[in-house]
Assembly symmetry: C2
Homo-oligomer: 205 residues x 2
């Protein structure tokens, strides 16, 4: 059994306090930044007793790591929910892209919190994306075996698709309003290029 | 004439001091983070008199903005240099991708400094990428007019290509050694997908 640097509460009241500390941590990490935020700032912001913070978290990094893991889980679960009806890889990529952007639009701290890991500890950032890439590669290999995806460099393709989701996500989030129609339009544009490539008259095909 | 919050030195000695302050700023911003770094930290790290810092920069944000603008210019110039021999869009994308990753490999603070803008002021981050995207769109439209690029959503394509460069860049930089052979291999993998798409038996093509 591995021990985590955080402890999940057992009571309903404990959960309420735990969630409140997390919400305050998210707010401070994304506004002031991780480095400039102290445990005392989080305690002051949340209004809990100092001892209460340490019941649940070993230190500031433990709280951050908990928040990042929670995002990883929530993003996976959300995409899974939004794509479970998809019957092929094209639909999966299309709906998965929309699901990711919609998630980031609804939780506007997601990008900040995830990318902040680059500054806190590069290895956390690296683990986060390598982990996503590994799972992506498994999925792509399965779709290749089913005759849907070409025989390409799956690792590079997985990083390309993550990069596309993240940057097309930014493009959309920079707008004031994001509608479902806009998500559909952007997803169609992306899929058109993933389907037919970007070049006219491809050489040798 | 617009005034900038920084002042470029006129003497050789001034340039040396200016460059030294910038190097210390980069080091502190990327290790401690912008928010946790004070002007006094930068002055202490660089060993200049307090007054000297203010000869060149209005404040901490002015120094950061100078550094970010310098990266923007350097990245553009480097890619321009490395791609000016390219005769078509395929070569341009291929060599441009390699050039960007090589730059980030040689200057390992580049990602940190650029992405940090997301935390300092979202509008700086947005301007940085929207500016790159605009120039990308112009280039893609030109290549489309020349019959090289398909009639696609150029804005979305530009964000896709920036996302691919950034994330495939991360994939490569996470390795300990980056060789020219490795850059070639990854660039070939990316171009294969940009050329032929990711799917087998594309529908309707």
């Amino acid at each position: 059994m591995t021990t985590t640097p955080w402890r999940i509460p057992k009571t309903k009241h404990g959960h309420k306090t735990f969630d409140h500390i997390i919400a305050c941590g998210k707010k401070l990490f994304s506004s002031k930044g991780f480095q400039a935020t102290s445990v005392n700032d989080i305690i002051a912001e949340s209004g809990v007793a100092a001892g209460t913070f340490y019941i649940y978290f070993n230190d500031k990094l433990a709280l951050y790591t908990y928040i990042l893991n929670d995002y990883k889980k929530k993003i996976r679960d959300t995409i899974h929910q939004d794509t479970k009806h998809c019957l092929n890889r094209r639909d999966l990529e299309r709906e998965g892209l929309k699901s990711f952007i919609r998630f980031a639009y609804q939780d506007n701290l997601a990008y900040n919190i995830i990318w902040e890991s680059l500054f806190i500890d590069k290895s956390i950032f690296q683990d986060y994306y390598e982990n996503f890439a590994q799972r992506y590669v498994e999925g792509l290999k399965k779709s290749h075996a089913q005759g849907e995806v070409r025989d390409v460099d799956f690792e590079t393709l997985s990083w390309m698709l993550m990069g596309i989701a993240n940057f097309v996500g930014l493009q959309v989030l920079f707008r004031v309003h994001v509608t479902e129609e806009e998500l559909d339009r952007v997803a169609d544009s992306v899929l058109d290029i993933l389907e037919h490539g970007m070049f006219k008259r491809p050489i040798g095909s």
